[in-house]
């Protein structure tokens, strides 16, 4: 979890161009490891493409694609984020104090995305190994075609959760409005409780693994089914 560093280098987005800010973060060498971005004012593509174990705190809300393609870095947004936060994240940690808009963590390969508020539609769409923990609710079509990784939701999930799911694991504590095609509830085994306990701990989430249900792929869509030929 990101902690606001007291000796962080402050980058004022009211004074600097977005590209300057991102260049400063992307070019961070060993000397500076903590940055504070002030006045983000809903800007797009804040703190994207980072590839070093630095800590970035964003003091306010951002727009589209915050912390996209993140590698190694820890990005903490003290506000809400627009669509596509942590899109295609490879590793590192992204923590959002507020809400996240559409397709949070889309296509992410690794790392941990924590949303302390709600995430809207298509959360974790096509996720490929990222772990996502949402303290609130998620919207419809979340984890659509999700391939790998874990999506943990403390609140409720919207319609068509896990539609056309591959091998991502979905854990929901609250209600699921409806399951998408080929997504089913599955048995919670000890190894899943262990994964959940670790993720909840790392995400600072106050919940017990036993309170969740697990959903996964029925694996019926993996292969063409000749019996259904007339339905296509």
């Amino acid at each position: 979890m990101a902690k606001p560093a007291t000796d962080a280098l402050v980058l004022d987005m009211a004074e600097m161009e977005l590209r300057e800010v991102n260049s400063a973060l992307q070019g961070a060498s060993g000397n500076e490891t903590a940055f504070q971005l002030v006045n983000p004012r809903g800007s797009h593509a804040v703190a994207v493409g980072l590839d070093a174990p630095i800590e970035v705190t964003v003091k306010g809300s951002t727009g589209y694609y915050c912390a996209g393609m993140n590698k190694q870095a820890t990005v903490h947004v003290e506000g809400s984020v627009g669509p596509g936060v942590a899109e295609n994240m490879m590793s590192g940690t992204v923590v959002i104090d507020g809400d996240a808009s559409q397709y949070a963590g889309a296509t992410g390969h690794g790392g941990l995305l924590v949303v302390k508020g709600n995430a809207s539609s298509r959360c974790g769409i096509s996720m490929k190994g990222i772990d996502i923990v949402v303290h609130g609710n998620i919207g419809h079509m979340s984890a659509f075609m999700a391939q790998k990784g874990n999506l943990v939701v403390l609140g409720n999930a919207g319609d068509a959760l896990g539609d056309s799911l591959y091998e991502a694991r979905l854990f929901v504590r609250g209600e699921v409005k409806s399951l998408g095609a080929d997504c089913i509830e599955k048995e919670m085994r000890p190894e899943h409780l262990e994964i959940l306990a670790d993720l909840l701990d790392r995400a600072g989430a106050d919940a017990k693994p036993e309170e969740f249900k697990r959903y996964g792929s029925a694996r019926k869509l993996y292969n063409f089914n000749i019996d259904h030929a007339d339905e296509y």
Binding site: G63, G82, S101, Q102, G139, H140
Partner: protein, 295 residues
Amino acid sequence: MCGIVGLFLKSEALRPKLGEMLTDMLITMTDRGPDSAGIAIYGDPGDGLKVTVQSDTPAEAFDGLEIALGELLGTAVPVKVSDTHAVLTIPAGSEEKAVAFLEERGLRVMGVGEAMEIYKEIGLPKDVAARFDLRAMGGSHGIGHTRMATESAVTTLGAHPFSTAADECLVHNGSLSNHNRLRRELARAGFVTKTENDTEVGAAYISSRIAGGASLGEALEGTLQDLDGFFTFVMGTKNGFGVVRDPIACKPAVMAETDDYVAFGSEYRAFADLPGIETARVWEPEPATVYFWER
């Protein structure tokens, strides 16, 4: 892609600043729609009806208009000219006669209402705002749009908002796919659209429902059944505004509320300068859910 902004003031004290606040919000949405921009602004209803007209040759078109219309209606008609637009105040009940006369003179009628004035033109939002001095306008609520055209040409009449009934107007981000069939059905029912634009059909649909007795909320609810396509709509009425997104909800929307106002934006950026935004309740409107605020 398009940009939408909306502002509904709860605080009387902010009313003189409505134009200023809405203009800043509108200009922030330039990236989402640099083709054209428009705004509908609602002031206090006064005596009579306000008719907003537009002409590409305002010098000739507005020359003598005050006298000619005054003679036709048998009363003085105050005319407020603002660049290519003019707002004429006519007595209640004379709308049909006045509109026929204005259209006969080649003027484009942008909207009619007790409270509503509409200003829209092609060009960058900052230029459109400057031409009409939008910043100086006060009022109780207003909606604005920055357009990146997809479904019809970049023209003044293709810009948003679209008004299809007194004091009602609609702005839209998205595209409708069943607008041609619906346009014909609405025309048969007496709701004739003026352009090839899909949004105008959406506006006419909502107006037709309201004319049939539906509330604003019911009319917006109806769009979820009867309109096919992508939409985030913001609808202005004399008393307030409403918001609805289609069930897929891929067109962005964010809202903010404080004790002083309710604000709508396609993106949070539009809110960055609003007073008290740091402590406002900010949320994303749910798909297929109608929200409205009225006074």
